[in-house]
Symmetry: C2
Subunit: 396 residues, 2 copies
């Protein structure tokens, strides 16, 4: 299926001049033809960008009609001028699209500590407004306009049959952290379903927990991470509840997982996408903490880069996660092969496991505990010399 | 001053055949001529080596007379056979040195998941016992016998005047985590002062908090990390208390800091030793958590490797440490130069800061908060392509 915008939305992506490379897009606009319910989930970093503060103050809402996104400059660590600039971006969109300033949300990603060139941003908003359209090409242009170090744009769409057919479409940006943009992760999910403000907020928070909160490229939480959900009801169905809502929520999680996984998969300089699964945890939080500790371990990540089934590094990382478990009941599989069983290493064909790691860009690490029934899944990348070279050579 | 053993101690280091390279030493013995008070601080990793379990059960003690250390095989993840082997090592030392098995502590470092070759270990203990001496050469041989990926042995000594002259001598091993030995950090500190079991235990725990707990090479806590303190009273003075004890404690901290700092300084593949200081924290724990988060950040570490004063990565790492602080009151200095002042980037000469980073193997990062008066200091290394290459190329 071609990616498509849900009903009532239009999109555009243009080059405004913020990025130095004029062959790239750097400003995107998403507009709904009617007020939409909007919810947001934001970075937990205390040091956050001005757009994050603006969006946090405006969501949840039942009257959002536009999202403007710029890439190249993050408008973070920019003090009060930064707040005024974010406000001005929203005001400019409102002026051009005949909305109230409060109906506009703002996202920025790029260099920290630099002021936005507001003249370029404002001309860019004019240009984007004149290009707004509902076709796939415009959708993709909008996804491209939010990219920084991404090597490809990230869009995913679903259509499900509820009382009426309902569409969900999401776009995201994010990749390994090259540069001071700090792998900012931005995502906007649009739907033509009708949601209450409460269900939009709770549903998005749950979906983010299952998806964007389960990826780790280098352990950093950026100053600008934001996920937005817009629901404009243009499909014409009733406000979702009960089994329709549950079906919608499952699809929302799928969309978020798709987008989330595409971020480490686009890790510049990475040679493997690693999926860490933990089963048998006492609680979901325990399982997540253990999976994240393994996923963040530079020793595990370098071992995978070297196609090395180094079970000791994985088991040791679980051991220092801070979560209590019985180490004599831990088992470990890499790419489906059992390496460690109930606290004791298994005699295995290391060359065969290594070959399986070499042959496939995806590496599976499965840790089995015997504490309960909770599971978690985390996605990350390996750690290669290329990753370090890119991050070392980058200069502020 | 030449490094010297405190009174009453003898030491030896030999090649037992556990390591494949016969030009290296791999078994060390430290013996006191009288029962010593002994305390230990051990890894928090749930997955721990058999020797850790043995030592944990035997300390604090007032009757330890020997410590045996082998390198090459960690005796970790080795099940019940591992426990029996650790016990046998202690028993063999007791037999040769005419002690009770319970008077012996055991340390092992090296590959995880392999059984100790007990025949080689036992012959090695015989050989070491026959070489025991109190000279500097024997002390250094003992320090060499505990090395794994270390490029140099680590010994430090102090003599202080209390009621009588008292000596403190420490040896350590540990370096960046190349291989499955996981940068195990081992240290043994010997003194001829007289300590009570309680003061030995509390003093060691405090000193470790100020030193070994403030280093980070790659965030891993190994399965075998151990620091032991032996106090045999051979100097002839009274059991320390009051101002004598305080003076002793200050020197014990110095010895531990010396040894701790030598571990990241010996980071294989590292080009900078980074000191992260946090001042103005609400509590010491807060300051430590922030310093550790900065020190563990791969983005900060790659920036330093590239001599890049990337303040955004440092401030952002502080922001996601999980500790609450007012980001508008944060300032940052790199190598003494102010880059960020009360929440706003400062215009600075990036080339000059970069030159200062290039010129010196030591990089200083100082983060100033305005929450209170607590401070913390953390030592780590940068993250270079060479580090990753070494960790990637290593195979289990």
């Amino acid at each position: 299926m071609a990616d498509q915008l849900p009903l009532g939305y239009s999109a555009a992506g243009v080059y405004s001049g913020v990025k130095s490379d004029s062959s790239k897009l750097d400003l995107s606009l998403l507009v709904s033809d009617r007020p939409a319910v909007a919810a947001g989930v934001y970075t937990q970093n205390l040091v956050c960008g001005a757009p994050v503060t603006l969006c946090r103050n405006r969501t949840p809402s039942d009257s959002i009609q536009a999202v403007v996104i710029n890439s190249g400059v993050a408008n973070a660590c920019t003090g009060e001028q930064g707040d005024r600039d974010a406000e001005q971006m929203a005001g400019k969109v409102a002026e051009v699209c005949k909305l109230d300033g409060k109906q506009v949300l703002v996202l920025s990603t790029g260099i920290i500590g630099e002021m936005l060139p507001m003249d370029k941003i404002c001309s860019g908003i004019d240009a984007a407004a004149s290009k707004l359209a509902s076709c796939e090409e415009s959708l993709i242009a909008a996804a491209q306009g939010m990219m920084t170090t991404d090597t490809r744009h990230k869009v995913t769409s679903r259509e499900i049959q509820l009382d009426v057919p309902v569409r969900i479409c999401g776009m995201a940006k994010g990749a390994a952290m090259i540069g001071p943009n700090m792998a900012t992760m931005l995502a906007v999910v649009m739907t033509d379903a009708a949601l209450s403000m409460d269900t939009a907020h709770e549903g998005l928070a749950d979906a983010v927990n299952e998806s964007f909160n389960c990826i780790s490229v280098d352990g950093h939480t950026s100053t600008s991470d934001t996920v937005l959900l817009l629901a404009n009801g243009a499909a014409g169905g009733p406000v979702l509840e009960g089994s329709s809502l549950a079906k919608f929520q499952a699809t929302l999680v799928e969309v978020c997982e798709d987008l989330a996984q595409s971020i480490p998969a686009d890790g510049e300089g990475a040679s493997h996408l690693i999926t860490v699964e933990v089963h048998g945890g006492a609680t979901r939080d325990d399982a997540i903490k253990i999976a994240k500790t393994i996923a963040d371990s530079p020793l595990v990540k370098t071992a995978v880069a070297g196609n090395d089934p180094n079970w000791g590094r994985i088991v040791s990382a679980a051991g220092y996660s801070g979560i209590a478990f019985d180490p004599t009941k831990v088992s470990l599989l890499v790419n489906g092969l059992l390496l460690y069983e109930r606290g004791v290493p298994v005699v295995f064909d290391a060359a065969a496991v290594s070959e399986s790691m070499k042959a496939d860009r995806n590496t599976s690490i499965v840790l089995l505990l015997d504490e309960g029934t909770a599971s978690a899944r985390f996605w990350t990348t390996d750690l290669t010399t290329e990753y370090v070279r890119l991050n070392t050579d980058y200069h502020t």
